[in-house]
């Protein structure tokens, strides 16, 4: 573990972490929330284990190894602690499964009301780089993320799905709802190494643009060097469906509520 200063006033934490460490399973208040699918692990807990005060750092660069035969559900909650920049590299070993999710939408209705009131929320820029290296066969990575952009908030996501072994699967789905002058940038790469078999990779990016001043730049990329791979990506950008809004309003929803329900539905999909 080492701490070094990246930029002036920016403190960057760099470390490597192996999930097989027993120390990892120390229950804490946050970690105790066991869901149906198994234990949820918060990324902030891992950072805390580096014996550092979360408030003192602004960005994190780390490599996390998922050992063979292990299924891990991980939640990225670094933004909740004010760590806006993160660069996480996951290495997945044989038959390991990683379900990774991040959400920058705490409460849609709260977000939305705040947006409507045009309160002064600070200009925040989230910058996330997530790299998933599927190093050994049977590895599987599933990534779900969503964000809600208000005011002049900007999001920049960079994901790399790097398939280095046969029989691996990955899927990345990022959804964004953008209002006011929010900016959403997404750069997603699917890479498949030569001579692999039975590789499935998916990547989807969906965005709702609620305001004319919001902007979306999305660059989904594919680099496939193997003919036994099945890769696809998709990107969709549009406003709320007018017919759906009308339908809800015809059934007595206020325009506000109709909008809100559709946004909620979009994020929950």
């Amino acid at each position: 573990m080492k701490t070094n200063k990246c930029v002036k006033r920016d403190v960057c934490l760099t470390f490597n972490y192996d999930c097989s460490k027993k120390a990892f399973f120390i229950p804490s208040a946050r970690e105790a929330s066991v869901s149906r699918d198994g234990m949820k692990i918060y990324l902030s807990e891992i950072v805390k284990q580096q014996k550092i005060n979360l408030a003192s750092i602004t960005s994190v660069t780390c490599t996390i190894t998922i050992p063979a035969q292990i299924t891990i559900n991980m939640v990225d909650d670094l933004t909740d602690f004010g760590i806006l920049r993160s660069d996480v590299n996951f290495i997945l070993k044989e038959k390991s499964v990683l379900n990774f999710s991040f959400s920058m939408v705490k409460n849609v209705s709260y977000c939305y009301q705040e947006c409507e009131r045009h309160c002064n929320c600070p200009i925040l820029g989230v910058d996330k780089t997530l790299k998933f290296t599927l190093q050994e066969s049977g590895a599987c990575a599933q990534v779900n993320g969503n964000c809600f952009g208000r005011q002049k908030r900007s999001f920049s996501f960079k994901t790399i799905q790097k398939h280095m072994a046969s029989d691996t699967q990955s899927s990345v789905c990022i959804k964004g709802v953008l209002d006011a002058q929010a900016l959403f940038k997404s750069d997603n790469l699917v890479y498949v190494e030569r001579n692999l078999e039975n590789v499935t990779a998916k990547q989807i990016n969906k965005n709702l643009l609620l305001s004319d001043n919001a902007r979306v730049i999305t660059v989904p990329k594919l680099e496939v060097k193997s003919n036994k791979a099945n890769c696809s990506h998709g990107a969709a950008i549009s406003n709320l469906n007018k017919d759906q809004l009308f339908y809800l309003q015809a059934r007595g929803f206020s325009p506000q509520l109709a909008k809100l329900s559709l946004i909620n539905a979009f994020l929950a999909q």
Binding site: P220, N230, A235
Partner: protein, 503 residues
């Protein structure tokens, strides 16, 4: 009874008649296909004719590009002063712009070794009889004169740097259609030329458009007057015969209000050991309500660098269609672009790329820039890679702020046929307007085993089954081509497939 038998007789007679018609119809189709096959055989056989075809020219510029060479080209063409200064400006820009940092590596092009201008003959001819024999033979082998009568409203043929033959059927000439080579157009219609030249692609757009601006020669100039619909395609054929040649054609198409035109271009080159360069600039202007369709089948030999800038501006309610087939060349970088400038404009870009030999890179794609409301674009790209080839789709969809109710749909599918090959997709989507609908889909896979199995269980060989699946895969592209080109395209694909199996 009598009535009934009459009826029967009548019916029988009608059947015979029908049969006869059917027979005649089938016979006609048969004859056509025979003619086509002949043409195709020649076309295909001569595709890579070796040095046996003589290089013939009356003027050959020294290697490399310098101010002196540019001045010489301009003097040879007897150009007005403004064009010379345009060329010299472009030359300066060419020197100052650096090579692009993305995409295929172009460092191997030796720009100093290339002949930037080769004039193959003294004057351009209107009849094939007068075209110099050697050159005529090259084009006859390709089937160009034969097909002119059959399918096209006008034909041009460019050999090295100059257009050797240009002819437009009288029917269209009478309606005011201008179909000339670009150099003649500069002499004959200077006002019209100056109004549109360089308005769509500025010479400092990229390094190779600047190069084209400095050294351009040949190409087609088309002007379609208001309300004229040219119902048969106009065609130009490009041929590169010499070694280490740079062909810099410049094509300018202007479709005035409510007119329509279909332009077809075909490209081939002789096989040489030294690399050649083809850097064309194509500008298309579609005025209000006009419709322009631009079809290309590019089959340069495998040592040609094909670096082309193609761009169109679509005015109110106009439609621009790029139909783009890339089969040959060593490295292709070509991204047909449509700027949807006024409301109601539409763009359709359909392309096929096939990289079928080692180190061949087809870096093609499409761009649609939505500048106005109610515009729509549709991009369909199909690519196939085999034998170590690499195909990339590189595209851009941009919706500017204030362009409301725009629709854009992009679909790119790639097939990888063997282990050594690679397929990529690099789309760039930038949306600045909420009232839009933008969708993008891409897929990379190999031919599905189940499809092959199905076809083979019905008695097809594996090769035939594969060819059938591929024909189906590129069908959206082929159906946009004129009939005779569609067959040619299928044959070319088959040939490329066969060529690989022999290796």
């Amino acid at each position: 009874m009598c009535f009934l038998s009459v009826c029967k007789a009548k019916a029988a007679f009608m059947l015979v008649l029908k049969g006869e018609f059917l027979f005649l119809y089938l016979f006609d189709i048969f004859m056509r296909s025979v003619r086509l096959t002949k043409f195709l055989k020649r076309y295909v056989l001569k595709m890579g004719c070796k040095k046996s075809c003589n290089e013939c020219h009356v003027y050959k510029a020294t290697r490399g590009l310098s101010e002196k060479v540019v001045r010489e080209i301009s003097a040879q063409k007897n150009e007005p002063a403004w064009m010379l200064s345009y060329r010299l400006d472009s030359l300066k820009q060419f020197a100052s712009i650096s090579l692009q940092s993305w995409g295929p590596d172009l460092k191997h092009i030796n720009l100093d070794e290339i002949h930037y201008y080769i004039k193959p003959f003294e004057k351009q001819e209107k009849s094939w009889e007068d075209v110099p024999r050697d050159i005529k033979k090259t084009f006859e082998d390709l089937g160009v004169p034969e097909n002119e009568e059959l399918y096209f409203g006008g034909t041009g043929a460019q050999y090295e740097s100059e257009v050797v033959y240009h002819n437009l059927k009288k029917e269209w000439e009478d309606k005011g259609v201008i179909f000339l080579d670009t150099d003649s157009a500069l002499q004959k219609h200077p006002k019209l030329f100056k109004k549109y030249f360089g308005t769509v692609v500025a010479s400092d757009d990229n390094k190779f458009s600047a190069l084209n601006g400095a050294a351009w020669s040949g190409g087609s100039f088309i002007y379609i007057p208001k309300n004229v619909h040219v119902t048969v395609p106009l065609q130009t054929y490009f041929r590169m015969q010499s070694e280490q040649l740079g062909q810099f054609e410049r094509t300018l198409i202007i479709a005035d209000e409510n007119s329509s035109v279909h332009y077809v271009e075909g490209c081939t080159a002789a096989t040489h050991s030294q690399n050649s360069l083809h850097a064309a600039v194509v500008e298309v202007v579609a005025k209000k309500g006009a419709r322009v369709r631009y079809s290309t089948i590019q089959n340069w030999s495998k040592n040609v660098y094909n670096l082309v800038t193609k761009r169109a501006v679509a005015h109110k309610d106009s439609l621009i269609e790029w139909i783009d087939g890339n089969l040959g060349s060593g490295i292709t970088m070509k991204y047909p672009c449509v700027i949807l400038k006024e409301p109601g404009a539409k763009a359709e870009i359909v392309s096929v790329a096939m990289a079928s030999s080692k180190n061949q890179i087809q870096d093609s794609g499409a761009k649609a820039i939505h500048c106005a409301s109610n515009t729509s674009s549709k991009i369909i790209s199909k690519s196939i890679s085999k034998n170590g080839g690499r195909v990339s789709y590189r595209g851009k969809v941009k919706v500017l702020h204030g362009a409301k109710n725009c629709k854009s749909f992009v679909q790119c599918d790639s097939l990888i046929l063997d282990k050594e090959s690679q397929a990529d997709a690099y789309p760039y989507i930038d949306v600045n307007e909420s009232d839009t609908n933008v969708g993008h889909e891409a897929r990379v896979c190999s031919i599905e085993e189940s499809k092959l199995f199905y076809l083979m269980s019905r008695g097809l060989t594996q090769k035939d089954a594969q060819a059938l699946v591929i024909n189906g895969f590129i069908e959206p592209f082929v159906k946009e081509l004129p009939f005779e080109y569609a067959i040619e395209m299928n044959r070319l694909i088959e040939m490329e497939m066969e060529g690989g199996n022999e290796n």
